[in-house]
Amino acid sequence: MSVTNADVLHVAQLARLAIDDTRLPGLVAELNGILQHIDALQQAVIPADLAARAVAGMPLRNDDTPSVPLQRAREAFAPATRDGFFLVPRLATHGDAGASASSSDAEGDA
């Protein structure tokens, strides 16, 4: 399998990376070089009786276990804060939206 310019631009868009035109051909070539090696996986013989690994399951936390405390105020590491909020550029699509929303209420992608 190999990728095209369009594939790489699509994936870059999903990953919120901007790929400029001068970098694109090189990236496509590099990724195709890697994918060519990865294609060896398709040749692997998978035994029909490959059993799923028995799992022990995960350890759980008690509801009253405390959080690891923050030793430094949020303002000390956040790029932009006001009145305790983290600030981001105003979301254009929410120009006339209600008071608050979230990715779980709205479309979940920005």
Partner: protein
């Protein structure tokens, strides 16, 4: 070797050695940040009760520390000081260790040479024109140059063992789940491990023992008790210390890709293991050649998700923009270097609609086959495996430019990450003055046997005048 000899190396000594090797145009550039005043002050008040009381240590810059920044070698996290501490770092400090600095690394641990750091490459103390290996190159160089005798690194595909081999020191990757990952900045969560660098097997075992153990803040961390690994690493019977031990020699690790001079050193080591009482037998791990392809599906896939949090919203360097999307893209595009960008794109691609089964699911299946290869060998009575650590000695800075050629540097180490088994590298000889590493691997949670074999080999080599 003892706890006392490790304690003999003081914070004062560390700083004089640091001043001698790290700075300047031909300096090692092993450290990204240091805490000279704090560490000297701490050394004055530290007691003597802990196993590491007053011992200076260096920490890879992807482990969260409270006073020094945690940049992961990335522009994106320039100046970021974590508001909490990694469990492994806390355990070292609780044993009395004093953190003197954070070490250089390939950005977000993606690389095998430490050339992918946003803050310039680290040089190999053995030959400063060469790389120290990576991604934990800074920690390896700091230990090899004698600035510290104990340092923490991290592994996803060999990032402790390969630089240990390149720098001529001991590097350990414990079993997945033996050491908490809490506070280790994630690259590929199912493959990431905290590892230890030291100048000898005993110190490495001690360091591993001290950072190991259950952590309620990591759901993948095992609750199994930690054995006294420092005792496993102490050679008691000097005649036949490995009597009854079966050492496997996986034939797939001794192919034509291997530098013949490295092969020769491995053969010598295997002879020594026999002389120490071990039985050496050839074994087969038939899926070995698929390890790198599996790794370069799974690691980038997990990385593409793990690195999504670097969006400039809550921490890190933000590039301003009018719109949110532009802010994201400018922050991430300018913040990530070339290799990180490449792996995020690759990982996003293999997870994207229509490709998941062909890549991610397939790779998980083959990973299971690789794991079963090891389980079969260990079930057949083999206690440890012995292999070369890397196919070549340290290469020159700038020498390897093709990404996939660089990936092949991890060809002998990545399997242990995929299987989650413990593995370590130790010096077994020199090629043109450059160190060569030999690797032991053992069954899951059997670090004790691994250290026992490594300590015996180290002892035998020392008896003959060193590696």
């Amino acid at each position: 070797m003892s706890v006392e000899s490790l304690k003999a190396h003081s914070v004062q000594t560390a700083w004089s050695q640091y001043d001698a090797v790290d700075a300047g145009p031909t300096g090692l550039n092993a450290f990204l940040s240091v805490d000279r005043d704090g560490s000297l002050a701490a050394a004055k008040v530290i007691g003597t009760n802990g196993d590491l009381s007053g011992v200076p240590v260096a920490i890879k810059d992807n482990l969260a520390t409270l006073t020094l920044p945690t940049t992961c070698g990335s522009r994106l996290l320039e100046g970021y000081v974590s508001p909490y501490e990694a469990t492994a770092v806390r355990k070292l400090r609780e044993a009395g260790a004093i953190v003197i600095g954070k070490t250089n690394m390939d950005e977000f641990a993606m690389g095998s040479s430490t050339e992918n750091s946003a803050y310039g490459p680290t040089r190999n103390p053995v030959d400063r024109s060469r790389v120290p290996g990576g991604s934990s190159g800074g920690s390896a160089a700091a230990v090899a140059a004698g600035v510290v005798r104990l340092a923490l690194g991290s592994e996803t595909g060999g990032s402790v063992r390969q630089p240990a081999a390149f720098c001529g020191i001991v590097g350990v990757k414990p079993t997945y789940g033996r050491v908490s990952r809490f506070g280790l900045v994630a690259y590929a969560s199912s493959l990431d491990h905290v590892g230890v660098f030291a100048q000898n097997v005993f110190d490495a075992a001690l360091g591993t023992e001290l950072i190991a153990g259950h952590d309620p803040y990591d759901a993948t961390c095992s609750a199994l008790p930690v054995p006294a690994l420092r005792q496993s690493a102490t050679v008691a019977d000097h005649a036949q210390p490995l009597a009854g031990l079966v050492v496997g020699r996986p034939i797939e690790y001794f192919t034509e890709a291997l530098d013949p001079r490295i092969r020769a050193h491995c053969d010598t080591s295997l002879e020594r293991l026999r002389a120490l009482g071990a039985e050496v037998r050839d074994v087969s791990l038939p899926h070995t050649s698929l390890a790198i392809p599996v790794y370069y599906v799974l690691a980038p896939a997990e990385a593409s998700s793990n690195l999504a949090r670097y969006d400039g919203v809550r921490y890190g360097q933000r590039r301003s923009a009018d719109g949110l999307r532009e802010m994201y893209e400018r922050t991430r595009t300018s913040g990530f270097g070339a290799e990180v960008t490449r792996r995020i794109l690759l990982g996003t691609y293999v997870l994207s609609a229509g490709y998941y089964d062909a890549y991610y699911r397939r790779a998980q299946t083959v990973r299971e086959l690789i794991t079963q290869d090891f389980e079969r060998v260990f079930a057949d009575g083999v206690h440890v495996l012995f292999t070369p650590t890397a196919p070549t000695p340290a290469f020159r800075i700038g020498e390897v430019s093709d990404p996939y050629d660089m990936y092949l540097s991890d060809i002998y180490t990545v399997t242990a990450n995929l299987a989650g088994i413990p593995a370590m590298s130790q010096p077994i000889g020199l090629v043109d003055g450059l160190p060569v590493g030999g690797q032991f691997m053992a069954a899951r949670f059997d670090e004790a046997t691994m250290f026992k074999a490594a300590a015996a080999l180290e002892y035998a080599i020392a008896q003959e005048g060193g590696a």
